[in-house]
């Protein structure tokens, strides 16, 4: 495949191999289709409880995780399906979790809000807004103390940035120069509450100065912009220079959760943001720069579709936990 050699090559195109870029596109499709599959499964009664879908935010999840290995950690949020997939989880085990099955990542104990895949470095979604912020700092502390070079990426929302945990976590990460990158997915709202109302600064990244760390705001629907910001932040972290704050401006197409009536935002606003689809944009970019052809791009989407269908099937056929095992996993099992 020919690589574009003009000056206007987006960062991602010049930074990653075609195989990597193809895989990134596949993951973005996988996230979108996973969310749609979860939504449908919910409607059909296969999933209960609540869910927070990340449709519209796929570039943020995938581009952020682009340079992370399984040794690197992430902490995720209540809106964490995309992060989990981006970090390498298997959608079959994710669906199984949402269906409450024993084969799920959490053996049916956690569900959507606690989806995790420790083996690929995902320390877990979190039902507590801001709960992952200090945990991520702790993970980075471990790396530093044990002399490992892994970094931790901490996802959080614009709403979470007003939690005290944000302040305490960023301050400690800064004074100890820990290898952690705080990635704010600013989708303009925390549930119904506009960031413009709830947050006393225009951009969340403006708060980085309060911790003497670099802060940058990027178009979170632009894969390359996110990847570039993370590239710098990760390099800084691995070099022992400390934490960074990256803010990805993005938008969730769906309501906050299943019970949202969207009364706090206009249809126009939603539609306008839907024209900024991060997947379509990335796909077009890959095609424009000759990374993929149309047919190949279509094949990537089909591949993702098949994976989702297979994942749902796996989940459906999986066994449920024994109802007697309510207290299993509360503590470490003691050898008899």
């Amino acid at each position: 495949m020919m690589r574009d050699t003009t000056e206007n090559i987006p960062f991602a195109i010049s930074q990653f191999s075609p195989a990597q870029l193809r895989e990134a596109l596949r993951k973005m499709h996988l996230i979108r289709l996973f969310e749609e599959g979860a939504e449908e499964s919910y409607m059909r009664g296969l999933i209960h409880g609540t869910m927070h879908l990340s449709i519209g935010q796929e570039a943020s999840a995938v581009a952020t995780c682009m340079e992370l290995t399984d040794a690197d950690k992430i902490t995720s949020t209540h809106r964490g399906h995309g992060h989990c997939i981006a970090k390498g989880a298997d959608v079959g085990r994710m669906f199984a979790e949402f269906f409450g099955k024993e084969t799920g990542y959490c053996h049916g104990r956690g569900g959507s809000m606690h989806i995790a895949d420790v083996k690929t470095g995902n320390l877990g979604a979190n039902g507590i807004v801001g709960g992952g912020l200090p945990i991520a700092v702790g993970a980075a502390l471990t790396a530093k103390r044990l002399g490992r070079d892994d970094v931790t990426v901490c996802f959080f929302g614009d709403g979470a940035n007003n939690e005290g945990a944000f302040h305490e976590a960023l301050n400690m990460a800064a004074i100890w120069k820990l290898p952690v990158i705080f990635v704010c997915e600013n989708n303009k709202y925390g549930m119904s509450t506009a960031a413009a109302y709830a947050t006393a600064v225009p951009n969340i990244a403006d708060r980085a100065v309060a911790y003497s760390m670099p802060g940058v705001t990027v178009d979170g629907n632009d894969f390359s912009a996110v990847a570039e910001a993370l590239h710098e932040a990760i390099a800084r972290a691995r070099a022992g220079e400390g934490p960074s704050l990256v803010e990805n401006l993005t938008y969730r197409w769906r309501g906050h959760s299943k019970s949202d009536r969207n009364r706090y935002r206009t249809k126009d606003e939603i539609e306008e943001w839907m024209t900024r689809d991060p997947i379509a944009r990335f796909r077009a970019e890959l095609i424009a720069h000759g990374v993929l052809g149309e047919a190949e791009a279509d094949a990537v989407e089909v591949e993702a579709k098949d994976a989702v269908a297979a994942g749902i099937e796996f989940a459906r056929q999986s066994p449920t936990p024994a109802v007697t095992e309510v207290t299993k996993f509360v503590h470490a099992e003691v050898a008899a």
Binding site: T50, G100, C106, H114, T193, A198, V323, V326
Partner: protein, 338 residues
């Protein structure tokens, strides 16, 4: 209808959520010092649609959306209460009160005392509580025992729409901080609710079904499960006396002890974790009281499992007492099989 109605009022069918909203509307109308605070209680109407349309009726200055800042938000409510407002602060889920224990317990509960009676903190904290919604371990807890352990607080747990309204109005009339545990599964439950202002007294339990064979003390949603169990037991000739606890702090010793003296048998049913849950205190206060001599059998407790609330719905159900569990243990007690 269990609420103590003080006026001869019109009675309508309202949901538990509507009854709470009505209480807040009455308070907002009658007292300019009342303000509502909480996350997404404005335009969104609250995560459980309890505040609903109150923002349209009273405006954003009286129905204030707060940032996602539970500690600070609770503290703002405490400071406001200390200086002349009467805030009703909604936690979106009671689980998030874990972030605000400092302000509730170290500040609100103690300020009057630490200041030797020279100040007061008339704040109400509303806490949607309990399991059964598939929201897993961090959105399903029952923390009433924690607050019940704290001097300076009052803690109520309404089980019906009428109680929900009456206890909230009582909380608002109280010059001290009151924690209201609202059960999420009850929000849609309908029941008769008197119009206008009335108070369901804090500190009084209610005998919601009289009986002579066994006493069941239950709280919140467990009241309904206990009543269902009692109905079935009655068919076998076992008459369970069901007490709706209503208030966790201060506990109504008199009503509980009087019942146990009559039946000689006690079953405590509560959703919180069994160990150190509300039923532990009820058992202990009976075991140290004059009712001890009337006890014909060990005091039984049915509480939540010693586990976080699991996501899987069957496990979730198994993690807290259900009506058949209550029926089974009450029957064993009544038949002398314990």
């Amino acid at each position: 209808m269990n609420a103590q109605v003080q006026i001869d009022a019109e009675v309508r069918e309202l949901s538990y959520a509507e009854a709470i909203r009505e209480a807040m509307a009455i308070a907002l109308e009658s007292d300019p010092a009342v303000v509502l605070m909480g996350e997404d209680i404005g335009t969104y109407g609250g995560a459980f649609q309890v505040t609903g349309d109150l923002i349209d009726r009273f405006g954003p200055e009286r129905v204030m959306d707060t940032p996602i800042s539970e500690l600070g938000g609770a503290g703002v409510a405490v400071g406001a209460a200390l200086t002349g407002l009467k805030p009703i602060f909604e936690f979106q889920f009671s689980d998030f009160a874990a972030l605000a224990m400092e302000q509730i317990v170290n500040q609100a509960a103690k300020l009057r005392y630490m200041l030797g009676g020279e100040a007061e903190v008339p704040v109400v904290f509303r806490m949607p509580s309990g399991s059964g919604t598939g929201a897993a371990a961090q959105h399903s807890q029952s923390f009433e025992a924690w607050f019940g352990h704290v001097p300076g607080l009052k803690v109520v747990q309404p089980s019906t729409p009428a109680e929900a309204k009456g206890l909230l109005l009582a909380a608002l009339a109280d010059p001290d901080p009151v924690i209201v545990f609202e059960h999420k599964l009850l929000y849609k439950m309908k029941g008769p609710v008197p119009a206008g202002h009335y108070i369901t007294p804090i500190g009084k339990a209610a005998v919601v079904r009289p009986g002579q064979h066994v006493t069941i003390v239950a709280s919140a949603i467990m009241v309904h499960r206990a009543l269902e169990a009692a109905l079935r037991l009655a068919k076998e000739g076992i008459e369970a006396e069901v007490i709706d606890l209503r208030t966790v702090r201060p506990l109504d010793r008199e009503t509980i002890i009087a019942s146990v003296k009559k039946t000689g048998k006690l079953l405590c049913v509560y959703e919180g974790v069994k160990t150190l849950g509300v039923g532990a205190e009820i058992s202990a206060l009976v075991a140290e009281s004059e009712a001890f001599d009337y006890l014909d059998a060990p005091i039984q407790r049915l509480g939540g499992a010693e586990a976080p609330i699991p996501y899987n719905p069957d496990l979730e159900r198994a993690a807290v007492p259900q009506s058949p569990d209550i029926e089974r243990v009450a029957r064993q007690l009544a038949k002398g099989e314990v």
